[in-house]
């Protein structure tokens, strides 16, 4: 009897294994694109989120008044078909596309646009409590939004603000359905309704978000039936899912796996340099970096090519100045990266009289856009040792690090790692290079750089509404900042993605946003 029972149990166990083994379907369903994301989305409310991970979903569910041209960081019409800007740069008037419906059937009109911005900006708005809206300062220049008629909406700014249009193209400017916000209130972020090419269908916490084809999309229904966004936080697991066929697309591929995928015909690798800059903030207030020659010396002393090729394995390019080349229209092509020249660096340091100085260097363990900060920091430490500096590294976890660096480096450190990813050439220099952006004035100029000429150029560029004029001003600013070297310019990150070879018509955008309207499988 006992023996019989034992045998039966063994048989059942065996059958279970066989059953489980046979039942695995590795392939994803046809016409459904499964995307391996890096984290669980925080919310799908465009005004409440800050992470690029969540933007990847948002951009496919919502539209903004304007959007970035394919492959560029310049804006073109989207929900607005045209717009005019007043002479003084204070009034923007948009004509809305007619007949566009939100996924819940309500119509997109001027009142809806007004509702969206007032909800974000006006603390007395009845739905302001559905926030917080951490990036609402993108639109802090907006004084008033008026619905002139059903399809005309007018924004009045309190001062000329040239980045306004490109901020509207950023996910924070996407338009959500007021009816749905009123209906779901604080839970709108988990029940998103927009006008985009895909409608929100399902959000299973910690498993997936599904969006489905919007048959009535004003730009034409997309070829894909649905897109599934799966959060897979561990990069190795994401790669394993890609290799096993469990996902069709993955973003932020680790450099080690990228070459493996590139040599395999079943996959396609995409790379795109973006508006990202990895740099060192130098403390100009005290110590060796008060002297311009020493700052230039640091730029000469660091072997940036070795960093991008060996540590980052080609997933970044050497940076030349404060404005990333992805802003093609505003980037100064005449500037070439500081060459690696330790002899010249040593000579400059000697001339300035700072040979053998000790430097304190803040390094972070990780963080948004920080790439491989510890390895990069150590390489920089070694390069600077070759020109005679004794660099002492202090490492902090990201949030602690920001808490140390953002209030300013004075009295604490000589240099710190930093990275920024922006949507307009104005943002980074305006927030981190102006005299009026020193930390005590609420900015990010943690190294206390100050050059009245740069301040003037940046103010002017912000007020100019003509792109060609703005470009000239930014180019002039870059030349000065390159020469003054308040930062050590290290790298511009290339965003990457891998898809299975079945995925067609996919391209990465320089904005780092993931657009899937045209993709098929």
């Amino acid at each position: 009897m006992k023996q019989l029972l034992k045998n039966a149990l063994i048989l059942i166990g065996f059958l279970c294994v066989v059953f489980a083994a046979g039942a695995v379907k590795a392939a994803t369903p046809p016409d459904v694109l499964v995307v391996g994301q890096i984290a669980e989305p925080k919310s799908i409310d465009p005004h409440a989120v800050t992470a690029i991970n969540d933007f990847r979903i948002l951009m496919n569910v919502y539209d903004g008044l304007v959007k970035y041209k394919s492959g560029k960081l310049e804006v073109e019409p989207s929900l607005a078909t045209s717009w005019t800007i007043s002479e003084d740069g204070l009034v923007y008037t948009f004509q809305l596309r007619k007949g566009v419906k939100f996924h819940d059937g309500s119509e997109l009109d001027a009142e809806a646009v007004k509702f969206n911005f007032e909800r974000m900006l006006d603390e007395k708005h009845p739905y302001h409590h559905t926030g917080p809206f951490p990036l609402s300062f993108f639109f802090s220049a907006v004084k008033k939004v008026n619905a002139i008629d059903k399809y005309t909406v007018e924004f009045t700014l309190d001062a000329p603000y040239a980045p306004f249009l490109s901020n509207l193209a950023y996910p924070t400017g996407l338009i959500a359905s007021p009816t749905a916000i009123k209906k779901y209130d604080k839970d709108f972020g988990r029940n998103p309704v927009g006008t985009g090419a895909f409608k929100f269908a399902e959000w299973q916490s910690n498993s997936h978000v599904i969006v489905e084809r919007n048959e009535d999309y004003w730009g034409g229904a997309p070829p894909l039936k649905a897109v599934v966004f799966r959060p897979i936080t561990d990069a190795n697991t994401r790669v394993a899912e890609m290799l096993s066929g469990g996902i069709d697309m993955m973003v932020e591929v680790p450099p080690d796996s990228l070459s493996q995928m590139a040599s395999n015909d079943s996959f396609k690798v995409y790379e795109q340099a973006g508006p990202h800059l990895w740099f060192l903030i130098l403390n100009l207030k005290e110590g060796p970096f008060k002297d311009k020659r020493v700052r230039q010396a640091v730029n000469y002393a660091i072997n940036k090519k070795a960093i991008v090729e060996n540590i980052l394995q080609g997933t970044a390019v050497v940076a030349a100045g404060p404005t990333p080349p992805a802003f093609a229209w505003a980037h100064n092509e005449a500037l070439t990266p500081y060459p690696y020249n330790p002899e010249k660096a040593a000579a400059l340091i000697k001339e300035a009289g700072y040979e053998g100085s000790a430097l304190k260097f803040y390094v972070t363990e990780g963080g948004s856009g920080m790439l491989d900060p510890i390895a990069m920091g150590t390489a920089i430490q070694a390069d600077l040792a070759k020109v005679g500096f004794r660099v002492e590294i202090e490492t902090y976890e990201w949030n602690t690090f920001l808490g140390k660096v953002n209030p300013g480096l004075e009295g604490k450190a000589d240099m710190a790692e930093m990275a920024w990813m922006t949507n307009d050439p104005d943002t980074l220099p305006f927030l981190a290079l102006r005299t009026a952006a020193w930390p005590d004035k609420g900015g990010f100029n943690s190294g206390y750089y100050s050059n009245p000429k740069v301040d003037e150029l940046l103010e002017k560029a912000r007020q100019a509404t003509d792109q060609a004029e703005r470009a000239q001003l930014y180019k002039a600013m870059q030349t000065i900042v390159y020469e003054d070297a308040p930062w050590a310019f290290i790298a511009n990150w290339k965003q990457n993605a891998v898809t299975s070879s079945a995925v067609k018509n996919f391209n990465l955008e320089p904005s780092f946003l993931l657009l899937l309207q045209g993709v098929s499988k």
């Binding site: 489980a20 800050t50 997936h208 799966r230 936080t233 190795n236 963080g367 602690t400 609420g442």
Partner: protein, 339 residues
């Protein structure tokens, strides 16, 4: 949390206490422990709250990332209610909790209690399965080794157990994924259910096999080692020799007489392993993308999602206190020497 020491076995023969009297004793003991749990949980809320308040960095900085200007941080902290004095924040938090409101997660924009219970149940499924697996295999391996002491089987089992104890779970997990998920394609690489057409029990089991085995491996080793030692101890006792001399069958001697006695010292270790399995779940959940509470807490700490960390730790710790209590009561039941 306090565990009574096991008293040494009685030297002279003592009559067993009357059964109903004994049951009453256990009830009294359980109630006493339950009352003692209250200050423990109050202490927990204080520790959990102030640890989160003490670590540097704040949620506003984490949410704003590169855009965390002092001005923006102050504005967001005000919106989140973090500009108030600490004691006031603590009082609000505890007060709300007594009304059943654990607050909302800043990052997930969701009620903390919903998230915590959902994630905790996923962890219980994973850790529970692992615990059952490691208990069964650990006990079996221990008994088999003890019975064949220094034999081939004992040596092989010891070797396997040693490898098991020394293998880091996250590394083993990745190897298992590569073999069974990527190469053989027998089992899914990650997740808890299929996205399309899944959601039933076979689907769950299929997703459980790899993470649960990975998680069970170390604990299996520890339990096996201990069971072996404990069994060897018991097998040397006089009453076992007496039983054998009486002609009781080998199987009966091992399972009925020796194993039962050995179990008494193994049970507390299984209880401790339960804690380790819960802790180890953090790595395994990350590698296998299991939507459990370990992974949730790691993310929540990194993003300074204070209410989520507090709620999560509190629920897990409270459960731990009660599991401990249960284990003690259970041990009390099986071992008449403990009172």
């Amino acid at each position: 949390m306090h565990r009574e020491a096991i008293k040494s076995p009685p030297t002279s023969f003592e009559p067993r206490p009357h059964m109903s009297h004994r049951r009453q004793n256990i009830c009294f003991y359980a109630i006493k422990r339950l009352v003692m749990a209250v200050p423990v949980i109050i202490g927990l809320t204080i520790i959990v709250f102030f640890i989160m308040a003490l670590i540097p960095g704040d949620p506003a900085t984490a949410i704003l990332g590169s855009y965390a200007t002092p001005e923006n941080v102050a504005k967001l902290n005000e919106q989140l209610g973090l500009d108030k004095p600490l004691w006031e924040q603590y009082a609000t938090w505890v007060g709300n909790m007594l009304n059943g409101d654990f607050g909302r997660s800043y990052n997930l924009n969701r009620a903390v209690i919903d998230e915590v219970l959902e994630r905790f149940s996923a962890t219980i499924i994973l850790a529970g399965t692992a615990l059952v697996l490691c208990s069964i295999f650990g006990l079996l391996a221990g008994i088999v080794s003890a019975v064949n002491q220094y034999g081939f089987v004992d040596k092989s089992v010891t070797l396997v157990v040693l490898v098991g104890i020394s293998t880091p779970a996250f590394w083993l997990g990745l190897l298992l994924i590569l073999l069974f998920g990527v190469q053989l394609k027998w089992l899914p690489v990650s997740g808890m259910y299929e996205i399309y057409g899944g959601g039933d029990l076979p689907d769950l089991l299929k997703h459980l096999i790899l993470p649960a085995s990975t998680l069970a491996l170390v604990a299996t080793g520890v339990i096996a080692r201990l069971t072996r030692a404990s069994m060897l101890d018991v097998l040397r006792q006089d009453y076992i020799r007496t039983a054998r001399a009486k002609g009781v069958s080998d199987r009966r001697v091992i399972f009925k007489h020796a194993f039962k006695a050995a179990l008494v010292s193994v049970i507390p270790v299984i209880g401790i392993q339960a804690g380790f399995v819960l802790g180890g779940a953090v790595y395994v959940e990350t590698v296998f993308q299991w939507p459990g509470i370990g992974r949730m807490l790691v993310t929540a700490i990194a993003t300074r999602d204070i209410l989520l960390v507090q709620g999560g730790v509190l629920v897990v710790a409270t459960c731990y206190v009660f599991f401990n209590l249960l284990a003690d009561v259970f041990q009390n039941l099986v071992d008449p020497r403990i009172s």
